[in-house]
Symmetry: D2
Subunit: 338 residues, 4 copies
């Protein structure tokens, strides 16, 4: 249930509602809005009776939330969530471009990539320090050394850093060095990790699991939000289907459906989505046309030498051409590029 | 194998190659091109030796075709196939819009839809006279009466008519009344029907089966082409995945991959693809941004009364808004709307 | 709706109910049972009111059928449908084994296979005269010549013949020569063909489409039954999933679910299901343990020379070993092998 | 690569090979066998040259391993891995039955379940103390209290305890209380957790991810083994497909394919696999007929009151009936029930 306060409800009135909810053994979640405060109620087994709340001073309305996801639902918060990352606004009117290599491989590689994508218009630098790899014998990432290089690249370029968190042990390091914490597709339902992310003060980029339904994905986001961290963005990166010509099947249907169901920003990853370098630009264009708030693209100074994902990474010239196309499509639908 | 003739090869030289191929027990397929003629060779078990051909007068080159689909492959014909339907060019620089109801339901319904979509910019009228329905107890279409109404609508509006062929029995009627013959998703591998379509002189719109790989789909097109009909367009209409929030999963990854593999025009059907009326425009935009040559959209004067697919049909006002968006995206990528 | 007659209802009483249904513009389907007659009602848009029927003489009960499939549902007919094919009973207590080559390739091949599998315990000979092949350049079958060879093999061995029907044109020939008409996976929703099969007097073996839900499959069977042919068996042959190590994913979950939902016999095809010769016996054992009424297995005298499906065909020695295992598992669950 | 030692190679000879491998910057994995020792080599980028090894004393052969999974492959170790859990042998000739509730809910519930399944023939007690739930608002498990109850149940019944580990934090507790550590489907590619499990001295039951290919699953097992823990069993529990009538699609094709590819024991979970209580016995029978070494079944004294998975849990009477069927099928294929 959602208790919606009147526009000018006082802090004391809000607090009284919060106390009332706690007194019933339930959990209140105050959801800040531009116009007024709303308080989500979770922890109930069955339906919550609105009676006790509607009578309280400052309460405008009590709304039943029909979806199994509550706090991330548009029913609970109508206006878009905009995440401010060092001044770059994710989820607002502007399209945001994130770019960089799959893995941090060396100082030279990362700085060349960072300066290159920065110059061409990216606002975020992506790069993995710990890499989830199908085989234990493949390159597993540079670890903390990689994080330090990402921080150095930020210092030199002003790009915001997004990197993947793989486990609770390395979470504090990632929080220390990165600006946005990515949860990879394979960890989308690593609930222990999601709960931990609910307690940190850094935005989370939650990738969709390869066979996760939209409902399960939203429920995974709900784990983070319900544990206290409201800064969550969803990243579509392709689902697993029977088709083998493409690495995954980028599911752009998810974009408009999510934008209708949730207030969280939606990001599209065309690189993992289609997995074929030459077709990444087409899917990036399509993602923006479908309504995504941002794209995240793998860029490597020399894709043919990449230690991971070379087959789907753009080089800097290709990324430059992509940026031109991104601006054209964004412009066509009336959105600037951040 | 593909025997490529020199730009100024004479008809007699072409004929000599064709005879040589026949003489070896194989099948020649002369493929007309803007610059020069090429002759595909099929029917061989193993690789065909180029030797006997390279020596013939007028022969420029012999190329091995590595894909299992031959005649529909870009290896065999580099330039785009453009299908001229009553002056509307499908597969050329212009984006083509096809629109109309799922089923022909009545004279009033069809004419209202036809005049409406014509006025708003569509060039093709879609509408089913025989409907493949999951249940034998659902509306199965008006049959020949429906075809007559489609012809009447064409007469009144100048729209080209695309309608679904379900079996060999009704094929002659469809050929008589329609301009483009649609093969539905469930019949994509109805090989008997595909062979028949190879013998008629009408363009074919071949929808992708719900679990067909791109390779299988191209092989299905190859059936039609190998039996003599080169006018085939491919229509992506969503594949079946685990996701249940959308009716199907429109696979836009197919668009750039197909455009690279084949010279045939690629059409996107956002209506069946996502199956949710409010999200059809987003997927139409994304389809064009991904590189589709045309879109086919379900439009009904009163979707809430439709005998089939009402939940995914636009009304005329929504279709008008969609056309505006189509023009904007098409313009952004430098393509006019036909 | 289902109108259930009393055990000793007279033909005249049954006829009166049938007339009443027709009089309402609906379609009656008299369903013979061991104990009593029931009459299915189809063609209604909404729910049918039981009122007018309960009052008629001889009527015991009126039951609403909740499933979208009606006549094939266990709600409508509780007892198993047993199809008698030349004395072999499919769907009864005994497990039936069908075996033979994918394609009829020659007189020698077919007769060797037929005599071989007969001697080892098969009761049906399978073999395709027209073959649906992904590529137009692959072996397409011997056509009518193949049917004649199948009839010859039946004459010599007493085996019942099951062969695939691909289109309405060749249906009369198949009806003439074969004992059971198979509908292949790709034609499961070829509704025009299904309607035609409803009008012939031969049992139908309806294979599951590679991405057909159980509901869609039962609806396809309903097409045949609703058009008059009650002799339909369902054949699970693997669905399409993301797994590529096996050709398909034989879905044995379908077996107990179908046996609960429908009265039709359920057959399992482990050959197409897993697509790997060495693993066919394990899946055959599992199919019977799961409750299948029959298995259909590809057997070829020399699989390595087969024109189609050699990689999944057993040789005769392997088939002999399989039969031993089939008997053991069938015996364990108290079912003889026919 | 695999260096196979002669049957009577001395420990010093084995050690010399190990040192040689280390000296090349690679990782040796001594794989104990009944007849002789083999030493797997991992960590190489390209192929390892056998030259330096074949000349060493005691070396019988050097074998290239073609699969991407090495240590879990049958190429590397031909004989079955048998895991001894408190005297119960998993992966040997006997079929092992594991049973118990989805979640530990209370002392009464767990002890009633434990005594019940023990009496009916189970050898392992399953039960979750921490539960991965799609929604953050669902019952998350009793935590350490649950582990203590499991230990108490083991004390009273002699059953071995299998429970799920969700994260590194609670791993030490699980190691302390449980006999087998289960990794749930959603964590199959939680590589940080897998690496940790490689360092503990407890057997691991690795469930298949809902969209994991067999190759990915074996690679996940390779993570555990490559980090030092050779006691891994694989548990098929259903994959995600388009079918919605069953909770998952239990993929029994995996059983014979895995038994051919790997020496690890294979377990089948019919409860999660089909997800429908009434159909669990059919899938359990089929799993054993397909060649599984064990089944793991959800049993609850009162399924209708279960806090999780009640719809797929058997009650004790149903479990008793299942055990009878298990014994019959196991007997038919010549395997006793442990």
């Amino acid at each position: 249930m959602l208790v919606v306060m009147k526009p000018h409800a006082t802090p004391a009135e809000v607090e009284a509602v919060v106390e009332k909810i706690r007194g019933m053994g339930l959990t209140p979640h105050a959801i800040p809005g531009a116009q007024r405060v709303a308080i989500g109620v979770t922890g109930n087994k069955g339906a919550v009776e609105p009676g006790p709340f509607t009578a309280l001073p400052g309460v405008a309305d009590c709304i039943r939330v029909s979806q199994p996801f509550k706090l991330v639902s548009r029913e609970v918060k109508e206006e878009d969530t905009v995440i401010d990352v060092g001044g770059v606004k994710l989820g607002g009117p502007s399209i945001v471009v994130m770019a960089g290599p799959c893995s941090v491989e060396s100082k030279e590689q990362l700085l060349e990539a960072a300066h290159g994508v920065k110059k061409l218009g990216a606002r975020f630098l992506r790069g993995g320090a710990w890499k989830p790899r199908t085989s234990p014998y493949e390159f597993q990432g540079m670890g903390e050394e990689g994080l330090k290089l990402l921080a150095l690249a930020r210092e030199q370029t002003g790009l915001q850093v997004v990197t993947e968190v793989m486990d609770p042990e390395t979470l504090p390091l990632c929080v220390e060095y990165a600006d946005v914490l990515q949860i990879g597709a394979r960890n989308m339902q690593n609930f222990s990790l999601l709960k931990r992310l609910g307690t940190v003060n850094k935005p989370v980029l939650l990738k969709r699991g390869p066979s996760a339904t939209l409902r399960e994905w939203l429920m995974a986001a709900e784990y983070v939000v319900a544990h206290g961290n409201y800064q969550v963005a969803l990243c579509e990166r392709g689902i697993r289907t029977f088709e083998t010509m493409t690495r995954n099947t980028l599911d752009l249907n998810a974009v408009p459906v999510l934008k209708a169901l949730t207030h969280l920003p939606v990001v599209v990853d065309p690189s993992h989505g289609i997995g074929l370098r030459r077709h990444v630009p087409a899917m990036a264009r399509a993602g923006i046309a479908a309504g995504a708030d941002a794209i995240i693209v793998e860029v490597h100074p020399r894709p043919e030498c990449a230690l991971s994902d070379g087959q789907q990474s753009l080089d800097l010239a290709e990324f430059g051409a992509l940026m031109t196309q991104v601006k054209v499509i964004a412009g066509a639908i009336g959105r600037p590029v951040a």
